[in-house]
Symmetry: C2
Subunit: 397 residues, 2 copies
Amino acid sequence: MSEEPAKTVYDELIASPRVLLGPGPSEANARVLKAMTTPMLGYLDAEFVQIMDDTVGLLRRVFGTENSLTLPVSGTGTAGMEAALTNVIEPGDSVVVGVKGYFGERIADIAARCGGVVTRVEAEWGTHIPAEKIAEAVTKVSTPKLVALVHGETSTGILQPLRDAVEIAHQNGALFLADCVTSLGGQPVEMDALGIDIAYSCTQKCLAGPPGLSPISFSERAVEVIRNRKTPIQSFYLDMTLLENYWHGEKRSYHHTVSMSLIYALREALRVVLEEGLDTRYERHEHNARALLAGAKAIGLQPAAEEGYRAPMLTTLRIPDGIDDTIIRQGLITDYGIEIGAGLGIFAGKAWRIGLMGESSNQRNVMLVLNALEKLLIASGHKVEQGTAVHAASQVY
Amino acid sequence: MSEEPAKTVYDELIASPRVLLGPGPSEANARVLKAMTTPMLGYLDAEFVQIMDDTVGLLRRVFGTENSLTLPVSGTGTAGMEAALTNVIEPGDSVVVGVKGYFGERIADIAARCGGVVTRVEAEWGTHIPAEKIAEAVTKVSTPKLVALVHGETSTGILQPLRDAVEIAHQNGALFLADCVTSLGGQPVEMDALGIDIAYSCTQKCLAGPPGLSPISFSERAVEVIRNRKTPIQSFYLDMTLLENYWHGEKRSYHHTVSMSLIYALREALRVVLEEGLDTRYERHEHNARALLAGAKAIGLQPAAEEGYRAPMLTTLRIPDGIDDTIIRQGLITDYGIEIGAGLGIFAGKAWRIGLMGESSNQRNVMLVLNALEKLLIASGHKVEQGTAVHAASQVY
């Protein structure tokens, strides 16, 4: 084991300032970063238990639910996805999964790893899944246990309507799951009003915190299904019956040492969200997305997501013919410090993903990215007059 | 959905200062807390990829390994435990698990959830498992795939010797796994020198960072076993073949959005560890534990862990007859702001766990906790002269 001092090899941590307009992380609020400097507390300290309770209370408001079993899972959005599926699905269970992008694929993958028998309802990337197609699939399965849809599909920028799908699931005796990783805090989720049984999200997109936690919530019906399992839950780490005892039990039984720093951050991020007000926040996301799209269209960048179903927090744009994806994105980082998202899956090299999420969703960023994109496109031979994008966007404000 | 501003309900985050002498979290280094205020970077930003590489390089030095597959799992120590087991164990595999406390039990539980056929090698709580007992169990199993031992058992304060057990495992064709959640950074782990195939830890004990990540490392032999699996890995989130592509692949394929803040913190925590020097750090942990135990014994508090096998970062003490566990621990928190650990499992109400981990392992804390404990014990009727504990401890410095 080397005893050489680390400082001879590793310098102090330095990270260049970035304008984060990708699929997340978005820019964390400064209050949230500051909250993370709070010293540690014991995981059963009465003060920490109160902070946990506060966080759950705030989460319920953002999820639009009174579900008792609401908490942040100690992992990222994908851990929340896995927690949702592994707790509910037993080997042999029928699961209907909407697949219209990368994250629907991921749900289907994880559901199968849980032993679920997966029926896929597919739609082309960049489109939503019509309710009729979901109904058709669900009614064909004899006893569907779960219907799962991605609300905001981060790979395509589609915001999937949920209301009809929830009804279809319930009419067929199935639970309804919504992946709200991209939507929560940026568009209404309204679990109780819609009847969503399981929803999970992340902390680093529209909630504007650091990544590392996955807020999740289960309806009473979903909890009942978990309680009536015949086989053990595959995962101990994500076992909601154990997590419930720690987060909500009278005895607060130890399960694992949650990350105080991330809980501090999430509590502060949620306070920021609710101080702004949910409706105001949703409108802000929509307003800035409209401006961005107006500017993009004005310079010939066409949306890759179907009209009427566009997620305001993530705008996907088709890369014009003859334009090199990497040159533009590299130029944005190098010349402007702006990160936008590359295309994922079949959109790789074909679309850009511009996130306007949480703190990052503001007029300044819309203007910054449009101006920078336009300049780089012009340098790449794209025929457009300088100033066009910003001018078009400013009409929206 | 309520639009009531959050500030009318939830005040600013406040956490009282605590002297953290429980089983973790220990006190995070101030440099580590500061590192967490660094703004986010994209998960594929070249600067962030460099920070990931730095972190892995630093981790290898603390693990004492050159293993390629070394990285921090995006979850706490228990996630690391689950990652280790779920990647290696397939349904029907034979697993020999040493159970001498709460966390050995947890390994057995998770191994069974993975479909493993578990053979337990037990020892009384507060004792270590002799090599002969391990050899006996391993040789009885026809084709053991994995032998798993907890290095520092956080429930009992036992530091389990590993050298002979590694040999036994290898002689019988099994991989060897060491749970180093409590030991890493406080006592040598030396993966390569001992031949440990899989080791995992946490960030909030002897590494003195915030909780939330689980450093893990797999030997080439272990990687080979994972590559040759016949069944899919149960967990997508913890699938090391996918994590390897993100952390070490040439293409850095997206898997999930890791927590920049926690990686920043871990990188800084590891720099602090290596600047002190590993051997110096191990000696510091031993020195302060000796002083604590001298003071404790002087006031009639007997160690609950077997002599010669005590983990210096966690001292377990039997609660004397007639002394109320809760009154003392509550008094420590209320009157002195000191947290010590309650007994876990069968040690509940019977033993205290005093952690001297990472930053928390220092002479000031030894004196603080001994003086406070002594005063509270005297107030509870324990017959001892004031100043005895601190006097005895000071002889060790």
